[in-house]
Structures are given as C-alpha cells and as structure tokens.
Amino acid sequence: MMPVSTCHPFLISTLGLLLSLPLTLCAQQERHETRVQDLAYGTSLFHLFQQKKLAAITELTVADEKGMLKNQRADADLLLGSLYFEYGLPKQTADIFNQLLEHELSTETRHKVWFNLARVEFEQENFDQAEEYLSRLKQPLSAAQESQRHYIQSSLQLNNGQLADAIQSASAIKPDDSWYAYAQYNLGIAQIAAGDSASGLNRLKALAELKTRDKELLALQDAANLVVGLIAMSQNNPDDGLAQLRKISIKSPLTSKALLATGTAWSRKNEPKKALAYWQLLIKRGQPDRATLEASLVTADAYEQLGNKALAAQAYDLAVKLYEQQSLQLDQIIDSIPALELYNSLPDDRLFSEATIGSLKNNPALFKTLTTLQQTITGQPFQQALQQYRELLEIADTMATWEGSLPAFELMLRERRQSFTSKQPLVEKALDLQQLDQYQHQRQALAAEVNRIEQQQDFLALANATETDYLQQLDEVKSLLERLQQKRDVTQEREKYRLLFGLLYWDISTDFAPRFWKLKQQLLQLDSALQQATASTLSVQQASSRYEQRLDALNQRILQQESEIKRLQSSLSELILRQQQVINQLAIQALQQRKKNISQLQLSARYSLARLYDELSTQSKKKP
C-alpha cells in the first residue's frame, strides 16, 4: 500500500476518480475516467500514478511549450493545476484555474474548475472564497466530487457555527464514501462541543461501527471510540465507557490514553485493583508518552485510596524519580536532536506501524527519540515540514542530475560543431557561386546560338554526330575536288558530291523543326536546372548559416541553464538548512512542552508525597 502522504485526496478527486480516501484511493487503483487524447496528457498520468509529481508536471509544461496539447487542453490544465497544488504551489494552481476560466469551456469543465478552486481556497483556509466557488455549482459533479463537495460544504458550515446546516450537508454523503467518516467525526465532536452530547455520541458510535480495513479510517474509529469512552465516563457511565474503550486497537497511537482511561473507568466502578492492573500495564509498556507518565501518579493515588499509604508513598516517590529521570532523558534528547538529523532518519511510514517501529530498534537513540515524539511526528505540522524537506532533497537530486548532464550536452554540441566544421569545405564547394555564374554565362551563349540558328535558319548547326561526320567528309571531298579540278575533269565526281551533299542537307533541313524544338526544350531544361541549382545553393547557404546560428543558440541556452542551476543550487542549500532547523525546532518545542508537563506532574507527585509523609508522620506521632 502506498504511503498516505503521496496520495492526496485533492489531486485524486480532481482527476475524477471514483474513490474517496487517500489510502483507499491508492489501493483501489481505479482507471482514470478521462480518455487520453494527447499523448503528453497520458504520459503525465503515467508519472502521476507512480507518484512522480515533478515528472508529471514537467511532461505537461514541456508539451504545452511545444504546442502538443491540442486535443485536451482543458483536461491538461485541470491536471496541471492539481499537480501544482500537490507540489505546494497554491498561487500557481489558482492562476491556472483562473486562466482556464477565461477560455470557452463546456459547462461540465467550468463546474470542475469552480469545484477545484473551492478546494484550493478551502485548503488555504480562505473560507469565504471557498464558499463563493461552491455557490457557483449548479449541477451535479462526478460521484466522488459530489461527496467531497458536501464534505467541504459541511466543514464550512461547521466553521460558521451552522451546525444544523452542516449536518444537512453531510447527510448527502453516502455512508460507503470515505468522506462520510471524516464528516461524521467532525460533526460528532462539534455536537458534543455544542452541548448536544447524546447526538454527538450516537454519531461517533455509528462511525466506530463502520466496517473497514483502511488504516486511516481505523485510526479515526479508534479516536471516535476514545472520545465516546471518555464522554461516557464523564457522564458517570463507566460501563458504556469501558465498552467503547475496549474497541480501541492495542497497537493504536491512542492505546496509552485508552489504558489510562480504562483504569480510570474501573476506578470509577470502585474496582481499584482492576484499575491498578491497567495502569501498571501501561507503565510496563514503558511508552514515553504523557498517559504513561500520568499512570504513575494515578497508581499512587489508587494506593492511597485503597488506604495503603506506605505503598502510596512508595509509588509517589517512584513517580517523582521517574519524572526526574524522564526530564533528564528529555534534556538529553533535546541536546541530541541536531545530531540525530531527524529529517534524514525518519521512516517514510507516516503512521509508524509496528514493523516500522521495530526496524528502528537497532538505533537506540533514534528509537527513544521517535517513540517519545511519535505524536508530534505523526502530526500535521511536522509531517508537512518533513514533506517539504523531502521535496527540497528531491529538487537537489534533480539539480545534481542536470548539473551532471550539462557536460554531456556541451560535448554533444562540440561534436556537432566539429562535424559541421569538417563538412565546411564540401559545403563551401557546393556554395561556389562563381561556378554558378560561369554556368549562367554558358547558358546565355547557348541561348544566343539557338537564337542565331533560328534566325539564320542554320539547319546544319543541328546536324547530329553522324551527319556532322558526313558533312566533314563531304567537306574534305569538296576540298579534294577543288585541288583535283586543275589537273583533270572532276565533273562527274562534283556531281556526285553535289548529290550527296543535297541529300544530306535535305535530311537535316527537313528534320530541322523537331530538332530545333528539342533544342529549345533542352535550353528550357537547362534554365530550370540552373534555377534549381541557384535555389539549392542559396538554401544550403541559408541552412548552413542557420545551423551555425542554431549551434550558437544551443550553446547560449546551455550556458544560461548552467548559471541558473548554480543560482538555484545556492538558494536550495540555504533553504535545506533552514528547513532542517524548522524540523529540529518543531521536535525541540514538542520535547520542551513535554518537559513542562512532566514538571507539572512532578510537582503534583512531590506535593502528594509531602502530604502523605506529613499524614504518616502525624499518624505515627499519635500512636502511643
């Protein structure tokens, strides 16, 4: 089962799970009711369900920055707001919810946001604002949220002294919902405090009868049983009191109080021996709590009431010595608090189970301190301070991890830059604009030639390779004929030359149009290729320049984060120290309070002892 502190009802309820109480919520592991429509929302839930709040927040904020929350923005903001609240950032939570309200939202989502704002304000003890947000709710929420809504409503009404309204609001919570138990407990106590103890006791008795295996609810039932038992005894009804006190678990943090009260109940029933048995059992348990210390005093009282003044004097004397010893021990514990580093040595188990306490026995100094301070440590202020300290340590771990990653980032960037630099000659070659200019000039010359061919209808200019070869051969024949005609008659050969040239010219000229069209097409293709080459060159040029700028920007970002980490680490170290002092101070204050209580008890024991000695001495004087 997961620790209570890691599974806060606020967050779970925000997510709309059909669950109610912290431990139950975690244990039941219900499926999240909102369908995942953005991957980042789903990955954030994956972290959250493993209690990795920081990772869950980061997932959503990164996705937000990258514009990857397109499909369920409102859900993501609701989740992020709740995560911020869990992470102890109420202002940011309220900001997110209030910003969300500025958008166009479905009625259902708007109600969810109002409800969450009500809870934020309620937990911040801004009760007026909480009431204002609750008053906006005009339609039912999900079943789990409805229960919590009625719980908050009831608590707000209790705070305003509207007991009847608070009872009415709480009646809307279903008995199988865990909010019911908390509401019933608070109502019961409030009724008793308001003088309606019959109704209050009935309410608490009913609460104590609820079937459950939930640890927190069982602890609540123990508290209810103790209250009912004590009130019953204060109303001179020790039998009822005993019946109720018997229901308290022997392993409860309230066991010592229950044993003390049980002894008192037997004492009220004029059964001092039974009373003594319970008190002595309590003393034997040796718990360093107030009830155990009081047991020494009431034991002595009991002996006195039994008429055994000698035994009573002995018991008072023992009590005085015990208180002296306890007081000295408390001084030692107070002195040892800084060295014990409670903030680092405390177990995660907030409820201090038997197994947890057992595991501490190999460190006697710590064991003694923790058992002495158990009630303080399990209390809300101490747990909050401890949780905050642990969050600071988690932050320190995260920072150390990032700090360790930065050299790797720098290396990566250096390698990229080196790779870029090594490719620069190739890039520069590719970016040779002079060569491109030459190609352009050549193209212009070609275009001019094409133009000339067209204008001059120079068919022979488009002769193919074979034809050119023939033309060349014919040209040689022509030259030969010109040389030979001075020596002999070449009329016949000349005629043959003329015929062959004519045939060739005919072939070439009749094919001129398609050849010229093809030539023009090729020129157009060349134009296009040159255009592309120019565009590509410019693009590579820009990309190269951009890449360089990007590398510079990345380098800048690394440097910025490096200095930010240093800045935060410095304030983090200071805050960790201050938080350690807060925790030590809470422990020391509790121990000093305990010392004050012991001095009162000691004073009382000394007074009783003196009185008893006085009486004994008077008695002995009277004896003949």
Partner: protein
C-alpha cells in the same frame, strides 16, 4: 468540572480531524522562498528537458514509441522488446507500479530516438501472461514512413472480452 472531564474535552478538541492538509502559515518567509524556488525549478526542469530534446532528438529525425493498455485483465505485461529495422532499440521489464499506472490510463514513453526519413519496419514483442495465466508472447509488425516531422507511434494493448483475448493495435499520431 472534574479533572477527568477536562481531560476528555481537551482530548476531544485535539482530535478534531480533517483529511485535508491544514495549511501551515503560508505567509512565512521560508515557505514563500520554498515556493519561489519550486516554481523556478519547474521552469528550469522544463527548459532543460526541451534543451535535451533539441540536442539529442532534433525535430526532423525525432521518433517516439509509446505504450498504453486498457484494463489489462486478459494480459499481464511482463516485458516489451522493440526493434527497428531488425535492430533492438529498447527493452523494458515492467514493475508492478508501472503496470498499475498503465492500467489506470497512463501512457508510457517506451522509446525516444532518431530515425532517418524513409520506410522502416518496427517490431514490438510483448511477453507476459495471457488468459488463464498462460505464458503469452506476441509480436507486432508495423511499417512506417518517417517524414521530416517528429513521429509518434502508440502501441495499444486492449482486452477483447468477446474473444477473451488481448488485442495489440498500433496508432500513428499525427
């Protein structure tokens, strides 16, 4: 009022319980400093994650594989192996906690890396316990065409109550 009643009343008052965290003095300088620090750390964390991604996985080659499941009643996932173009790129052995997080609707980022543009073959091999707690191993073959934008693939494990078998699906996120 007897000592005992006083004790009872004090105890009653000290036992007023709220399941909510009662707010400590939020106005204290220390708390405010801690809140400021947390806020700064969240921003730093965000910036560093983005920086890391920009450095390691540039947008044009970025490729991610996610995994999700529904109730997980017909298939208990033990491990997943992921191959791209016949090369193993990721293996993951699931803890109880991760499985619970998946069953509750969380989505796991199984892999993030770089992939060149073009066609690729992805093979996901799922191992675990199938219906009736029998060993179950199943491979899924996916063909993708990587473009110049980041690509996100989601492997989905879904219970099919009509066939009493798990179904393995793939979704390519746009």
């Amino acid at each position: 009022m007897s000592q005992f009643i006083r004790f009872a009343v004090i105890l009653c008052l000290s036992l007023l319980i709220s399941p909510f965290a009662s707010a400590q003095d939020a106005a204290t300088a220390l708390q405010q400093s801690i809140q400021d620090l947390k806020n700064d750390v969240l921003k730093l964390n965000k910036n560093l994650f983005i920086l890391e991604e920009d450095l390691l996985f540039p947008a044009n080659t970025q490729f991610s594989v996610f995994l999700s499941m529904d109730s997980g009643k017909l298939f208990t996932l033990d491990s997943v192996q992921l191959k791209i173009d016949e090369k193993v790129i990721a293996s993951h052995l699931y803890t109880e906690r991760e499985l619970e997080a998946l069953k509750r609707g969380g989505v796991q980022r199984l892999y993030i890396g770089n992939l060149a543009s073009g066609k690729h073959e992805i093979i996901a091999i799922f191992s675990g316990k199938g219906p009736n707690k029998r060993d179950y191993r199943r491979g899924e073959n996916i063909q993708i065409e990587k473009g110049s934008d980041p690509q996100f693939i989601e492997l989905q494990i879904i219970d099919d109550p009509t066939k009493e078998q798990p179904i393995f699906k793939t979704r390519v996120w746009e």
